[in-house]
Symmetry: C2
Subunit: 887 residues, 2 copies
C-alpha cells in the first residue's frame, strides 16, 4: 500500500526534515519539530505524490487516500482530545499548501475549518467568548467561499459594510457577537445564491473541498508564473498540511509572536522579536496595533513603555527561548519562528532559516563557527556573495527622509549625492574644484569616461543594466542609476524634468544605485566599514578557493582599491581608456587623421611617453603581481569628435579643412562597429600602433624592474583574434620590439603573449591558436554578443521581454549563458589545454564578478577570473563557494 | 644510392607523367612524351628532393649528385652526338625550373648554356651563321649575368644601346655579327667589373651556377608570394630540367610554333595554332612579326594571305598533327603544345592541358564523351563551375571598341548599357517608359531595391564584392560594378566625375560586371545562348548529384528564371523584399509608427492582401515544388525614410508631427543593427506581424491547392533563432493560425516549420532546437558575420589586407570558412540529425552558389543548397562534382 499521509504531533512524527521532496518544506519542518519534542499543534501532511497523482488522473485521488486521512484525523483527535465536527470541544483545522521550495502567497489556505452552525456553539462555549466564535465562523465562510467555492471576497465584504452601516458601527472591533452571528447567516445566504447549494455543514466535506482547492491552486496562473520565474518545475507538486488550529486571540492569557534567534539586522547573538497579546498572526502583520518587544534588552534599547514578554509571562518566555536555543542548535542556523500562546500553553507554528542583512549574515556565520556550530566551509557557503555589495558601498541613511522623483534601474551599487551636471567637461571642472557632482546623461559614451570618473554618481535616462554607463560605473565603483525613463533631459537649457519636477544644473540630487531611486536634495549616506568578521570570512574564502581573483583596472586609483579588496593581479588593463585623457586625445586624433605611416608614427611618438608613464605607475603598485595589458581594442571612430565645436577645434589644431575632417569622420563610421575594424585588426592594418604600445610596456617594465629590484613579467594580450595566423603576425612584431628594447637597454625582458578569446571562431580554433599563446583570456562580453547575435547596446528593445517570457533563463550579459557561450568556453578550454599544457586560462568579461558565472568558470577549470575592483570580494567569496559546492 | 637525376630522350625515359611530385609537372611530361616516342630534345630532371636537400643542408648538394649529373649529361651527348663544351658541334643546354604546380614566370631560366669564347665559334661554324652564334652568346651572358651573377639586366641593355648608337643602328635586326661579337666582349668586361671575376668559361661551372640559381629562385620573394596566394607549400620544392637546346631560328628551314589540338575559344574539333619561320619561341610571344596560321582552314577563315604550315611544310605538318592526335588520346584532353622545327626536324618542347573558354570547355568535354575518350563523370568534373557565369549573362562584344573610364570590382557578372540615373525612383520611372538605365549610387540600401530591379546594371563607388549592391545584384541577375573608388558622385548636380571625365544623368554608359569595367557610351553586348552541349552536361550533372538545388527568390520574374535554370524549389523567399514596394511601404511605416497592437493590426491588415497575392503568384509558378518562406527578418528601421522630403511626406500621410516621426526614427536606430531587434525577436515582441504573414501564406496555399488540385506544403522558416524556447513560442502561434484558417476554410493545411541556423548559439543548441523544427536552413552569411565577428558592410577596411597577408585563406563571405563557420555547421548537422532523424537540412546564404562551399555542404551531408537564380546551373554542376570527388 502506498503511503500518502504522514502524521506528526505529541513528540513524534512519521516524517522528518530531510523529506522536503515528499512533504514539502513546511511539512518536513513540522515533522522535524515534532520529532524533537517541540509543542507543535498535531496534524498530518498529504504528500506531493498525491498532487502529482491528482493531476495525472484527471483530478481524482488514490482510492486508499481517504482511509489514511481518516486515520490521521483520528490521531489528531486522540492527541488533542477534541472531536472534529463535534459540538463539544470541536476540533478545528488549518489547511495549508507547502511545496518543496517556498512560494509565499502563491497558493491557497483555509483556516478554522470544521466550523458549522453546530460546532460554532461548541467553540463559543469552550472559549467562553461568543463574539470570538462567530467572528471565526464568518471568517471561515468567507475564506472557504472565496478559496473553495470561488465567490468573490468583495461580495462578503460588502455584506459586512452594510451591516456595520445599518448598526451604526465603524470599526470591526466594535462589531458585537450578535452582529457577527447575523452576518454568518447573510454569508450563508450569499453562498446559496451564488452556488445554488447550501454552505457545506459536513466538516469532512469541508475538508475535501479545502484539500482540492490547495491542490488546484498549484496550477493557478500566479503559481505558474512564480514557478517560471523561479525555475521550479511543475512536477514537484505541493503537499497539503492539515493541522489542529490554535488561537492566540482567545483572551488575555493568549498571545502570538514572531521571533528571530539572533538579531537579523546586526547579527548580534540576542533574541529578537515581537508579540501581541490576545491576537492572531494576521494582527502582527497588519500593523494596526503596535507589537511589544520580546526581551527586556530590546525594550530598553527601543525605549518602549509596553511590557516585554520576558516580563509579562516569564515562564512561557523561558520555555520559548529554550526552544530557540534548541532549534538553532538543531538547524545550525539563525531561525525565524512563529509561535502562539493559547491560554498559557505555548505552540510553535513554524520555524525556518531567517532572512538577514548581509552584515548580519557575515557576523552570524563567523560567530557560529566560533561557537563550533558550523565549519569554515559552511560559514563561507552561507553568505550570498552579491549581498556583499551592500557592505562595500556607501548606503543611504535609513533614517533620512527621501523625496523620490523617479526610480530607474539599480545599475551600479552605492549611494551618492551632488550637483547635477549635464556634460562631462563640467563634471570634471566642478570635481576639480572639490565639488560632488552627479552626471546626468541620456546615455554615456566612451567620450564621457573623464566625466564619469570625476562624478560621484551617474544617472541616465536610457540604457539597461549592461549599458555603457552601467558597465563603466560598476567598473569604477561609481553609483549609477540607468534607464530612468521618466526623465526628460533638455540639454540646451541644462535641466531635466521628471514627473513634472524640474531639476536644473547645480541643483542637488541623491541617487541610490542599489535601489534605483533618484531623490531630490541631499540624503545623508553611511560609509561602509568592513567588520572583523568580514575580514575573517574573506580569509577563509581565500584559503578554500582554487580560482585566483584579478581585477580589471587601468588607473592607479582603481588599482589601489582593487589591491585593498584583495586582487591578486590585473586581468585586464584597457590601454584605450588611457587614450581619452584631454591631453592625449588630440595626439590620438592627429594619428587617426594621418594619411601615411610616417605621420602616424609622429603622432604616436607624442602618446608614447604618456602610455609608458601609465604602465610605470601600475607596475610600481602591482610589484610582482601579474599584469595583463590588452593592446588597443576599440575602433578608431570612438576617439573622434562628434559635435561641431569639437570639429572646429580639431580642424584648427590639425590645420586641416573642416570638410576634410568631417569626411574622414564619415569614412570611419561603421554599420556595426561591434563587428568592425577593431582589436587586432587595427594592429594588423596599422602595426605602428601596437608597436608603440608594446615598446612603452617593455621600456616601463625594464625601468621599474630595475628600480624595485624585481623581475616583472608583463602579460601582453591581443584582442579579437580569430585565427592563429593573426597571432603569429602580431607576436612576431612584439618579439621584434622586445629584442630591440633588450638591445638598447641591455636588459633581458621576460613577458607572456596571449589572446582574448571573444569571438566564436577563436573558441572553435583554440587548438591552433594555443600553439602560439601563453594564455587565453575569455572576453565573455563580446563572446555573448556574437554567439547570441545580440548587441548589448541594442538589447533593451527585446531582452526584457525575453526574460519576462522566460525565453532566456537570465540576462546573458549578467550571468554567463552556459548553454551557448559556456559551450564555446568549454571547447576552447579543452582543446587549448590539449595542445598547450601550460596555457594559462582566465576571464575578463563582466561575468568575472558574477557568482553564478564564477561557479561555471571554476567547474570548467579556469585559473583566474578578473572583475572590477569593487567586485573583488564578491568574486573571492563566490570562488570559494564554487570550490565547496563542487568538491 | 639515392636517385637524384632522371633522364629522358630518344624514345625512353626513367620517369613518367605520374611522377609530378618528384619531377615537377614539366619534367614528368617531358619524360612521358619521351616514353611514348615523341621527338623531345633529350635531357634530364634533377628531382624536387634535391631542392629540399639543398635547403635542409645550408645550400649544399648530395655528394652523389655530381656523378649522376655527369652520367645524365653523357646520355644527352650520346643521343645528340654533340659534346658539351666542345668547339665542334657544341651541345647547348636549357636550364628550367619545374614545380609540381605551374608557377609561370616566378622562377628562373637560363638558355644557351654551354656557350663560351670557344664554343661560340663551333656554333657559328655548325650553323653557318656567325650573327646567330654571337647573338646567342650575348643573350646567354646577359641571362646568366642577371640570373646567376645578380647583375642588373638594365646595365647590359645600356651597353647594347650605346653600341647601336655609335654604330648608327636602330633596330636589333640591323645589328651585324661583328657588333654582337663586340658586345659580348663589353658584356664580359661588365661581368668582371661588377663581380671581380671573369665570366665563367667552363661549361660545367656554368651548369652548376644555373642549377643553384633555379633552386635559389624557389625562395625568392615573388615565388613565396605566389605560393602563398595559390596555397602551394614551400615543402614541395622545385625540380630542375636540363635539356639540349634546339633552335627554330637557324634559317628558313626552321620554325617555331604554339598549337592547340582543338579550338580553345569555340571548342570545335579543329587543330588551331600559329607558327613563325626562322624564329624563337620568344618572337611568337613578343608579337613583333605576325604569326602564320597552322592550317589551311584557319587561314581561309581569317582571310590571311601568308602561307599556312599545312601548305609550307606539309610533311612536317602531317608529322605534327599525328603527334597532336597521339597526345590528345594519351592525355584524354585538349593539349596546348609548343614545338620547334630545326632544319626540317620537328621537336616537341612542351605539352599541357590547354586553357579554354567556358563554352569551349563544355563543348570539348561533351565531344570527348561522345568520342568515348572520357566518361560522363570526367566530362562533368572538367568544367569550372564559376566559368559558367560567362555563359549565362550577356557579354561585351569583343570586337567593339571600349572607352574605359574606370574599373571597379566585378561584383555581379554580365554586361549592360543604359542611361545613367542617380536615384531609384528615377530608375523605375525611366524603366517603366521602356528605357535601359544604369543606377549609379555611392552605395545601395534596402530602399533601392525597386531601382535596382528596374535597372539593367548597378554601379557603386563604395563597397566590396559582398556589399549590399553586389549581393542583391547577383541575386537579381543584374550586372554590377561595385566599389569603383575613382568615381566621385555629386548627387545634387546629378553627375559623377571619374578621372576628370564628367558623366551626367541621362548620359549612356556600359558596365561589365565580369571585368569591372565602366565604359563611356554604348558597347554592344552578346546575349547568351545555351548550347546543346551545355544542356547535355547539366543533365549529366543532375543524374550524378545528391544535393538538391533550390533558389533564393521572391518575385515571379526571378522564380521563372530560376525554374528555367533548373531550380528544384525555393530555399529562401524573403518576405521583407515584398515590403519595399512603393504601395506597401507606407502601410509598413504606418505599422511601425503605431504605438499599440490595435493600430499595428489595422496597418497590417492593409498589407495582408498584398502579401497573400505575392505568395499566390509564387505557389502557382512553383506548383508542388517546395517553397521555403522566411518570416520578416530585418530590423524595422530599415523600412524608415531617411531624407527630409520623405519624412515630410510620411508626416502628412500619418497625420503625425514631423518631430514625432523623427524621434521615433531616432529611437529605432541601432548601434549594431546586425545584432539588434530583428528576426524572430520581432516576431516575439510584435506577434501580430508574423501572424499576418503566416495567415497570408495559409490562405494562399489553401486557395492555390484547390485551384491547381495539388497538395502544396509550404515550409515556414523562422529567422535568427537562438533557443528552442523561441521556436516553441512562435511555432505555437503558427499552429494557432493554421487551426483558425482550417476552421474558416474547412481545408486541412499541411506545412513545415523550421528555422534558420545563423547564429553560433543556434548551432551549439541544435539538438534542443531540432526537437521542434522540421528543417534547418543555414544562414551562412550571418553565421559568418557572428562566428568571425566581422560585419560584412564594414569589412572593406581590413579584409582585403587579411587576404593579401594570407591571414585568411579566402574571403569568408565568398567561400565558407571551413575552420570556423564550417565547424558550427557540422556541429549543428550532427546534433540536429541525432535528435531528429527526419530533419531536412539546407543552406540559403550566399555560399549556396559557391562551388568550394558546395563541396563542403555535400560532404557535411546537407539535403539542398539554395542560391540566386543565375547561380543555379553553377550549383548543379558543383554539386555533381562534389559527389564525384568524394565518392
Amino acid at each position: 500500500m502506498d503511503k500518502w499521509v504522514y502524521t506528526f504531533g505529541a513528540g513524534k512524527a512519521q516524517g522528518n526534515a530531510k523529506q522536503k521532496e515528499l512533504l514539502g518544506g513546511k511539512g518536513a519542518n513540522l515533522a522535524e519539530m515534532s520529532n524533537i519534542g517541540l509543542p507543535v499543534p498535531p496534524g498530518f501532511t498529504i504528500t506531493t505524490e498525491v498532487c502529482n497523482y491528482y493531476y495525472r488522473n484527471n483530478k481524482n485521488y488514490p482510492t486508499d487516500l481517504e482511509e489514511q486521512l481518516i486515520t490521521a484525523l483520528d490521531n489528531i483527535e486522540k492527541i488533542t482530545k477534541m472531536k472534529f465536527g463535534s459540538s463539544n470541544l470541536p476540533l478545528l483545522l488549518s489547511v495549508r499548501s507547502g511545496a518543496r521550495a517556498s512560494m509565499p502567497g502563491m497558493m491557497d489556505t483555509v483556516l478554522n475549518l470544521g466550523l458549522n452552525d453546530k460546532t460554532v456553539i461548541g467553540l463559543s462555549n469552550e472559549s467562553g467568548d461568543k463574539r470570538f466564535a462567530y467572528d471565526s465562523y464568518r471568517r471561515f465562510i468567507q475564506m472557504y467561499g472565496d478559496v473553495v467555492l470561488g465567490i468573490d471576497s468583495a461580495d462578503f465584504e460588502e455584506i459586512i459594510e452594510q451591516e456595520k452601516l445599518s448598526n451604526g458601527v465603524v470599526l470591526d472591533t466594535e462589531v458585537s457577537a450578535e452582529i457577527w452571528e447575523n452576518i454568518t447567516i447573510l454569508f450563508k445566504d450569499l453562498v446559496k445564491k451564488v452556488t445554488g447549494d447550501d454552505f457545506p455543514q459536513d466538516p469532512i466535506e469541508q475538508l475535501w473541498g479545502a484539500i482540492s482547492a490547495v491542490f488546484s491552486s498549484w496550477m493557478n496562473q500566479r503559481a505558474i508564473t512564480y514557478r517560471k520565474l523561479n525555475d521550479i518545475p511543475a512536477s514537484w507538486g505541493t503537499a497539503v498540511n492539515i493541522q489542529a488550529m490554535v488561537f492566540g486571540n482567545m483572551g488575555d492569557d493568549c498571545c502570538t509572536g514572531v521571533a528571530f534567534t539572533r538579531n537579523p539586522s546586526s547579527g548580534e547573538n540576542n533574541y529578537y522579536g515581537e508579540y501581541l497579546v490576545n491576537a492572531q498572526g494576521e494582527d502582527v502583520v497588519a500593523g494596526i496595533r503596535t507589537p511589544q518587544n520580546l526581551t527586556i534588552k530590546e525594550k530598553e534599547l527601543q525605549n518602549s513603555d509596553t511590557m516585554s514578554m520576558e516580563e509579562a509571562i516569564p515562564e512561557v518566555f523561558k520555555q520559548l527561548t529554550n526552544i530557540f536555543d534548541l532549534l538553532e542548535k538543531h538547524y545550525k542556523d539563525m531561525q525565524d519562528i512563529e509561535f502562539t500562546v493559547q491560554k498559557d500553553v505555548l505552540w510553535i507554528l513554524q520555524t525556518r532559516s531567517g532572512k538577514r542583512t548581509s552584515a548580519a549574515a557575515v557576523k552570524i556565520a563567523v560567530d557560529m563557527y566560533n561557537e563550533k556550530l558550523i565549519s569554515k566551509e559552511e560559514a563561507v557557503v552561507r553568505i550570498d556573495p552579491l549581498g556583499l555589495d551592500q557592505l562595500l558601498h556607501p548606503t543611504l541613511d535609513p533614517n533620512s527622509e527621501k523625496n523620490i522623483v523617479t526610480t530607474g534601474l539599480p545599475a551600479s551599487p552605492g549611494a551618492a549625492f551632488g550637483k547635477v551636471v549635464f556634460n562631462s567637461d563640467t563634471a570634471e571642472e566642478l570635481a576639480n574644484n572639490g565639488e560632488s557632482v552627479i552626471l546626468v546623461r541620456m546615455e554615456t559614451s566612451p567620450e564621457d569616461i573623464h566625466g564619469m570618473y570625476a562624478a560621484k554618481g551617474i544617472l541616465t535616462s536610457r540604457g539597461g543594466m549592461t549599458s555603457h554607463a552601467a558597465v563603466v560605473a560598476r567598473g569604477m565603483g561609481r553609483a549609477c542609476v540607468a534607464g530612468a525613463g521618466d526623465i526628460i533631459i533638455n540639454s540646451e537649457n541644462n535641466e531635466f524634468i521628471s514627473n513634472n519636477i524640474k531639476v536644473k544644473e547645480g541643483d542637488i540630487i541623491t541617487i541610490d544605485g542599489s535601489s534605483g531611486e533618484v531623490i531630490l536634495g541631499e540624503v545623508s549616506t553611511i560609509l561602509p566599514e568592513l567588520s572583523e568578521e568580514f575580514n575573517q570570512l574573506m580569509k577563509w574564502a581565500d584559503e578554500i578557493r582554487d580560482l585566483k581573483i584579478r581585477t580589471n583596472a587601468e588607473t592607479p586609483k582603481d588599482v589601489k582599491v582593487a589591491l585593498e579588496f584583495g586582487a591578486e593581479g590585473i586581468g585586464l588593463c584597457r590601454t584605450e581608456h588611457m587614450f581619452f585623457d584631454t591631453e592625449r586625445i588630440s595626439a590620438v586624433r592627429e594619428m587617426i587623421f594621418s594619411d601615411n605611416e610616417k605621420d602616424r608614427r609622429a603622432a604616436l611618438n607624442k602618446i608614447a611617453p604618456m602610455q609608458k608613464n601609465d604602465f610605470t605607475e601600475i607596475f610600481i603598485l602591482m610589484k610582482d603581481l601579474p599584469v595583463t595589458i590588452r593592446l588597443l581594442d576599440p575602433p578608431l571612430h570612438e576617439f573622434l569628435p562628434r559635435e561641431e565645436v569639437e570639429l572646429d577645434d580639431l580642424s584648427k589644431k590639425l590645420g586641416k579643412d573642416k570638410s576634410l575632417i568631417k569626411s574622414r569622420v564619415l569614412q570611419l563610421e561603421e554599420q556595426n562597429p561591434m563587428l568592425g575594424h577593431r582589436g587586432c585588426r587595427l594592429g594588423i592594418t596599422f602595426p605602428e600602433i601596437y608597436e608603440m604600445q608594446v615598446r612603452s610596456i617593455f621600456e616601463s617594465v625594464t625601468e621599474v624592474s630595475k628600480k624595485l629590484n624585481l623581475s616583472i613579467m608583463p602579460e601582453i594580450m591581443v584582442p579579437l583574434i580569430i585565427s592563429d595566423s593573426e597571432l603569429i603576425f602580431i607576436k612576431e612584431k612584439i618579439d621584434d620590439v622586445a629584442l630591440a628594447v633588450e638591445k638598447e637597454t641591455g636588459v633581458k625582458i621576460k613577458y607572456l603573449v596571449g589572446t582574448m578569446v571573444e569571438l566564436p571562431r577563436a573558441a572553435l580554433n583554440a587548438e591552433d591558436i594555443s600553439k602560439y599563446a601563453d594564455f587565453f583570456s575569455f572576453g565573455t562580453n563580446d563572446l555573448t554578443q556574437t554567439a547570441l547575435g545580440i548587441s548589448r547596446d541594442d538589447s533593451g528593445k527585446f531582452l526584457p521581454e525575453y526574460i519576462d517570457q522566460n525565453l532566456l533563463e537570465s540576462d546573458p550579459f549578467v550571468s554567463i549563458d552556459v548553454n551557448g557561450v559556456g559551450k564555446l568556453v568549454s571547447i576552447a578550454v579543452d582543446s587549448g589545454k590539449k595542445q598547450n599544457k601550460n596555457l594559462k586560462l582566465g576571464i575578463c568579461g563582466e561575468h568575472g564578478g558574477d557568482p553564478k558565472s564564477i561557479e561555471f568558470f571554476h567547474k570548467v577549470g579556469l585559473d583566474y577570473v578578473s572583475c572590477s575592483p569593487f567586485r573583488v570580494p564578491i568574486a573571492r567569496l563566490a570562488a570559494a563557494q564554487s570550490k565547496i559546492r563542487n568538491k
